[in-house]
């Protein structure tokens, strides 16, 4: 771990509401997307002439297109319920990171241009023009929101800051001011098929390596097939699973589940990414184009089902947007995408998998609810399935499982601090500070219940916690995928 050049929050204070420090995180800036990256996505290469007017026009267009945005601009009564609910406010003390403060950055432009009071009384009515100062604030603080939606749980009107942030980023992209991290990655998906830019021969060699590696470790012929036409299932997973640790351990887990259940599956080199950063930039055209690759692969490979791996925001995209953007999915047996946790859970219920739970006895496990799974989707048939299904899997494969405190669990979970397109090195200070809230909860169960493993089902959460936990003197090995623990315990070749 590199030596930090900023203060690390004290975890014992991390859940307490801090005193406001104006401008405390104003220095945290994103890398702008360079012109060729912007052009690849059809965005203007650089700030366009007359961008002030064009930004307002775009806001006007979006408020008509998405009634929710208009509502969110108009219904806030400044009750303050959201003020201390954002992990970035708790971690930075910057009032623009209070959800209401962040919303106000857009609302003041909205008032000036779309309300009578704002047009007439300007600053007296908290209304301001879109100008250089405002754009500077937008390009700072709309990249200090991870679109986690925790604030919306506590807002009496259900105002969703995530949607406001998405709209703000879409407006900025439309005038030529983009963020390198997401824009570059989306370009790679269009060019190569995945966020990392792994070409097919590299993907093939990676999967071949894993087949050998698992054979060496278990003696079983667990397959990792690529582009296998006629397989029952197309498996789509975040490309981090083909690259990072501990991500790959869950990838091995998925393959072992298919092997043990005797169900054929295939990866696709055309659709080698589940993540969908179209969501982070708030652009439905990009979102659609990215997921279109998956639909195409499913049709080309003539599969009966699409099952998806451990990725939080992409599950939101698949669960909530695929049908509208890329549907109908009537060519699939279940008519919709299926989460790998639903798949494994069903097999456990049917008694189709056998586990040796003692294989995980060295771990005392807790579960981190990832925000997009917890607050923006569901799993299975019953309400709350997105909370219970992962936990039931963990209890089926581990002897020692404990919950985190209720105040930060299930729908009240805190973001890992790196979601929503912020998992980038120039924002490391924000990421470390934003992780303090959830890490303090982890530390509590580590101290009180002996937890040494935090399981999760999101590639971003895994990468973020692996990186930031060491700042809090917690080992990166604490981070695990659910299917990594499944992988440890599953018995192959026995029913």
């Amino acid at each position: 771990m590199a030596k930090p050049i900023f203060d690390i929050p004290n975890l014992d204070e991390a859940l307490k509401t801090p005193a406001v420090k104006k401008g405390a995180s104003a220095h945290l800036k994103i890398h702008p997307a360079q012109p060729p990256l912007m052009e690849k996505l059809g965005f203007p290469p650089a700030l366009v002439e007359g961008w002030q007017k064009k930004a307002v026009e775009k806001l006007g267009e979006l408020k008509e297109k998405y009634k929710s945005l208009k509502l969110f601009m108009e219904v806030c009564v400044k009750c303050g319920s959201c003020a201390d609910k954002c992990h970035y406010y708790l971690g930075t003390s910057d009032p623009n990171n209070m959800p209401v403060g962040r919303q106000e950055l857009m609302r003041k432009v909205y008032r000036k241009n779309f309300t009578v009071g704002g047009a007439l009384f300007g600053k007296l009515a908290n209304a301001e023009e879109m100008d250089e100062e405002t754009l500077k604030e937008w390009s700072t603080y709309f990249y200090q929101c991870s679109q986690c939606r925790r604030c919306s749980v506590f807002c009496p009107f259900g105002i969703d800051t995530a949607e406001i942030t998405m709209a703000a980023r879409e407006i900025m992209d439309s005038i030529g001011a983009g963020h390198k991290y997401s824009v570059e990655i989306i370009g790679k998906v269009h060019d190569v098929g995945n966020n990392l830019g792994i070409p097919k021969p590299a993907l093939q060699s990676t999967l071949d390596f894993l087949e050998e590696d698992v054979k060496e470790a278990t003696g079983a012929d667990v397959k990792f097939p690529l582009d296998q036409e006629g397989a029952d299932v197309l498996f789509i997973t975040p490309s981090a699973d083909f690259f990072s640790s501990p991500h790959v351990d869950s990838l091995v887990g998925y393959a072992k589940v298919f092997h043990a259940a005797g169900i054929g599956f295939t990866f696709s080199s055309h659709a080698s990414e589940f993540a969908n950063f179209g969501m982070f930039v708030g652009n439905y055209d990009q979102m659609k184009k990215i997921s279109e690759r998956i639909v195409q692969a499913a049709r080309d490979l003539k599969v009966k089902r699409i099952i998806v791996g451990e990725c939080g925001h992409a599950w939101r995209v698949a669960y909530s947007f695929w049908e509208t953007l890329n549907g109908p999915f009537d060519f699939l047996d279940v008519k919709k995408p299926m989460h790998v946790c639903e798949f494994t859970h069903d097999l456990i219920k049917k008694g189709a998998l056998t586990f040796d739970k003692t294989a995980n006895d060295e771990f005392t496990v807790t579960y981190h609810d990832s925000c997009n799974v917890a607050r923006a989707s569901r799993m299975g048939d019953a309400p709350g399935g997105q909370f219970e299904i992962p936990r039931e899997i963990l209890r089926a494969v581990c002897n020692k499982y404990v919950e985190m405190p209720d105040a930060v669990n299930r729908q009240k979970t805190f973001c890992c601090g790196g979601g929503g397109g912020l998992l980038t090195d120039e924002l490391m200070e924000l990421r470390v500070k934003g992780a303090a809230a959830k890490t303090s909860a982890l530390k509590t169960v580590m101290q009180e219940k002996g937890v040494n493993t935090m399981a999760m089902i999101c590639a971003i959460c895994k990468a973020q916690f692996s990186k930031v936990l060491p700042y809090y003197e917690i080992p990166m090995e604490t981070v695990a995928g659910i299917h990594q623990l499944v992988s440890n315990a599953i018995r192959l070749g026995e029913k």
Binding site: K180, Y181, E184, A202, T206, F209, F242, F243, L423
Partner: protein
Amino acid sequence: MGAIDVAGKSIEVDEDGYLLNLGDWSKDAAEVLAKGEGIPLTEAHWEVVNFLRDYYDEYKIAPMIRILTKEIGKKLGKEKGNTKYLYELYPGGPAKQACKIAGLPKPTGCV
């Protein structure tokens, strides 16, 4: 964007200090990049750098971390074939920091 000085020659790097043109890499460049990261390059560091470069040469992408750890285990002994050892060599992470010194592009995505 910026530049680093390698034996009197200015070489362009991106915002995060990765070489813009992969062809600009040389052993001297690696030494300069490593110095910027505060890492004195030992033989073990070079094993990682050389493997990353060979793999990239063939596949146009950095290898999965597990492929790297296994390779290092083969070269330097089984007890060193793990992520922990790679982080001892490259505290900023084998993927990002070692790629930077090897002159490879920064890995992108949920990593």
